[in-house]
Symmetry: C2
């Protein structure tokens, strides 16, 4: 196998007929998919099962699988086959060819030397970040962040863009989304939810929040979370399993082999709602059409759309009043000490506590998006050069004060809290908030069907799941995020439904109406 | 990548210098090793973790990994590099090249069409065997067995042999071992242990065997077995783990990542001694020298030598009087109901019950080898054509009567009990008995060192493990079974030590002296 750094020109007369090229192309895509599945299993195993001593060799094994997949995907024969495949009449084949061409274009636009340089820099930046966070010392991470920003600019140049280099980067995570659109939507969201947040913060507590750390045995937490993942949301052990890991995640090696992980803490909502968050990701992957199996089309279409599913399950459904009306008794059975003296309404209010905090991953529904907006604004400024890396902590802390009224006591709880920048993931953060917004926009559209709305109001999600499978899941990557949004909801992404949802829910909980 | 069906002639002037060829060859061998590790992990996962619905896609994923490994190993470039590598001066490199050449010769001697024909036939034979065993109906399996015998003959012809086609087949599992040698050793073993077996069968019970099915909680069985695997035999969770599976096995993806499985039954010795059997395999793989990492040399040298380690741990050590003198208290702590009213000596006698039975995998130390001899004799006769497949059940039952005095009531408990023949594994069975014989021959040699003998007599196995690592494990596949046997024990494999061991142990237990 050899590596080629650019694709064959698709206007070159094909040396193979489409009839021969397409099956050969699909065999290659199947191999690449299988290598990806193997690397995915190795990664899952590393996080959940593997003996510690195996780490070094495992890293090498995973690098081999990823390297082989990359070689097969970028070698000259793949380019020839893509050119020869033409424009298939069959819509499934057409989508496979289209998505593969897009991925192939991206994969071959980045020179091998640049990919290797980025990989080395990421590795060094990650280690520097781990140390910097441990010592809460931004200055030791700063030169690495400067390098990552420089590499991000160069990556954007290689990939190409029209309006803003940020567009080229974000496109890796949210295909088709542009910085200008995010700016508009985020400004709208900020202006309409900051006043709500200020009113909530000024209001008295809505419940006794100490219930959130009442004793709940680790095995019982996991068992209850997993039971509800199955009974309420349809994630079954026929095709899925749950394990523990330091950082919860979802992964899958086919739509029939889905793995989620969770983490158990004294603050038991972390395990429960975390499990249901991953369940949303899992049910998306479960719903991807069988016809995309072992092709690049076979996964969720973007991080934002993925997050719309996980946040819908975690927040819109599992943090709803009907959910706890229906499942309070099951919780009482699983953890009698937790529910002692409580009723479903009090529990509902407790798990919807709004509490501005320094840490994004601990944030509630109202404050979460401010953490994301802050990062988006800073990323743009860094990329544009209007903000220097050296001035980043100060800018971070200023925005933290402006949005959440808090001042980080140190960089570890401020600018150093997330792994993303050390991994070169710039343009990634907005997808979290895009997912939040889309979750409500989708749910609102689904509720137009009375049977679905009635189901949701009784925490009976079968009809909703069928609607999501039909309108979102089955398409895999064959439709873009915007195509899915418009087809399912009748309009592009907007903050309106989310803003309305927050007002209705939290004015109710905090008695602000 | 392309597939070549024969190697480049090593006398052709190399196009690459050895200095360049060797590193490139090692990179390829590393890739092949990593692909094998990924396929191994997928297989382990399938047996221990995977959701049921994933089976179909998993089969495809594993086939891709194995296919890629085979392609890389058999393509023209590997042959070129092997030719160009010459005869390296460094002994590690020399062994890597030598073993790779041997494997490559075998892999390229079988035409691709023949390998595919065998793969299809195996698949069909396996399904037929599952049905035939379920219905206890040999006739439906017979035509498939006829095919497998025919394929075995053709395979032997492709691989080549001097004295007997069986030699070519057995060489796949026990390199260098020949049918003539096995015949001699087995005849000796049979003649000298059949009289002992008859005397034991005629003797009164040596203990109350009902203790072997006393209640022992599944989790406690597994925990005790795993604890002893670590404390007595050195298998630690730093580099190994234990899971459950339908059929116990050991696998590993590096010497730092070893997995064993066990099965829990009301007959609790199955879990305990099964775990320690797999621990023997595991410690062999653990001891393979780091210098062979990610090369074909990095595993045990043969099935027989592997079995010598597993049977040593399971039988010679864990079924010994010193073991139970030392660990009886730990068992009493783990399972007080099991040990109630027992002493170590009674337990020792109970777990060493000799009981002729129809099923090989349930056989004790004295009868086990007769199950193997029977199969070896029948395989030879089938391959030579002196026995027809149609007459096999009758021949099986006759030998069962001759050796063990039993008549199978049906074929499921007779000729259909093992999976091996349906998988085309002809020439494999003898390795079980070769392993038994070698286990005692090795232990006797190790005991020549007083410190090791004193350790064994107190169930303190540190010195023995160090001796095994030095004399057996570290060499990986760089030494042949016979080289290891002669270097470690001073002579080729013989039945003498095993015969003496059986007499001393069982004359004692059954009061026959």
């Amino acid at each position: 196998m050899t590596t080629s750094s650019h694709t064959a020109d698709v206007t070159t007369p094909p040396t193979d007929s489409p009839e021969l090229a397409l099956p050969e192309l699909k065999r290659r895509l199947g191999q690449i998919s299988d290598l990806g599945a193997a690397a995915g299993l190795m990664s899952w195993d590393q996080e959940t099962q593997m003996p510690d001593e195996a780490a070094r060799v495992r890293g090498q094994q995973m690098a081999t699988l990823e390297g082989l997949a990359h070689e097969i995907f970028t070698d000259a024969r793949t380019a020839e086959l893509l050119a020869a495949a033409g424009e298939p009449a069959d819509p499934t084949d057409a989508a496979i060819v289209q998505i593969t061409r897009r991925d192939h274009g991206k994969a071959t636009k980045l020179p091998t030397e640049f990919v290797e340089e980025m990989s080395r820099a990421r590795n060094e930046a990650h280690h520097a970040w781990v140390d910097a966070r441990k010592n809460s010392e931004f200055s030791t991470f700063a030169p690495h962040l400067t390098t990552m920003i420089d590499l991000a600019r160069r990556q954007a140049d290689f990939l190409g863009y029209e309006a803003h280099p940020y567009d080229a980067l974000m496109d890796n995570y949210e295909p088709g989304m542009r910085a200008a659109h995010v700016k508009t939507v985020f400004a709208d969201l900020r202006d309409r939810t900051l006043p709500l947040l200020r009113r909530i913060v000024a209001a008295p507590d809505a419940a006794d929040y100490s219930v959130l750390t009442r004793p709940f045995a680790p095995e019982a937490q996991k068992a209850f979370a997993w039971r509800m993942a199955g009974e309420a949301f349809g994630l079954k052990s026929d095709f899925a399993r749950q394990d523990e890991s330091a950082h919860p995640f979802q992964t899958n090696f086919s739509r029939s082999d889905i793995r989620i992980t969770t983490r158990v803490e004294p603050y038991w909502p972390a395990c429960l709602f975390g499990t249901w968050h991953e369940t949303g990701h899992a049910m998306y992957e479960r719903g991807v059409g069988q016809r995309w199996e072992r092709t690049p089309v076979s996964s969720g279409t973007s991080l934002g759309v993925h997050e719309s599913q996980s946040r819908m399950f975690e927040n819109l459904l599992a943090r709803s009043r009907p959910f706890w009306n229906r499942h309070f008794a099951a919780l009482a059975e699983a953890a009698p000490e937790v529910t002692a003296g409580l009723d479903p309404e009090t529990l509902y209010r407790a798990v919807n506590r709004v509490n501005p905090s320094l840490i994004r991953v601990e944030a509630d529904e109202v404050t979460y998006n401010f953490h994301v907006m802050l990062r988006f604004e800073l990323e743009l400024a860094l990329l544009e050069g209007s903000l220097n890396v050296a001035d980043l902590p100060e800018a971070w802390n200023a925005k933290m004060g402006e949005y959440l009224g808090l001042t980080p006591p140190n960089d570890a709880e401020g600018v150093l809290q997330d792994v993303h920048w050390s991994a070169g993931l710039i343009g990634y953060f907005p997808t979290y908030t895009l997912g939040n917004l889309l979750s409500v926009q989708l749910l609102e559209a689904a509720r137009q069907t009375p049977e679905i709305a009635a189901g949701i109001d009784q925490a009976e999600y079968g009809p909703l799941l069928a609607w999501l499978a039909e309108n979102v899941h089955q398409h895999g990557r064959s439709l873009s995020p915007e195509q899915i949004t418009v087809a399912a909801t009748g309009r592009p992404l907007t903050a309106d439904p989310y803003v309305a949802y927050l007002h209705e829910k939290y004015e109710g909980i905090y008695g602000l109406s």
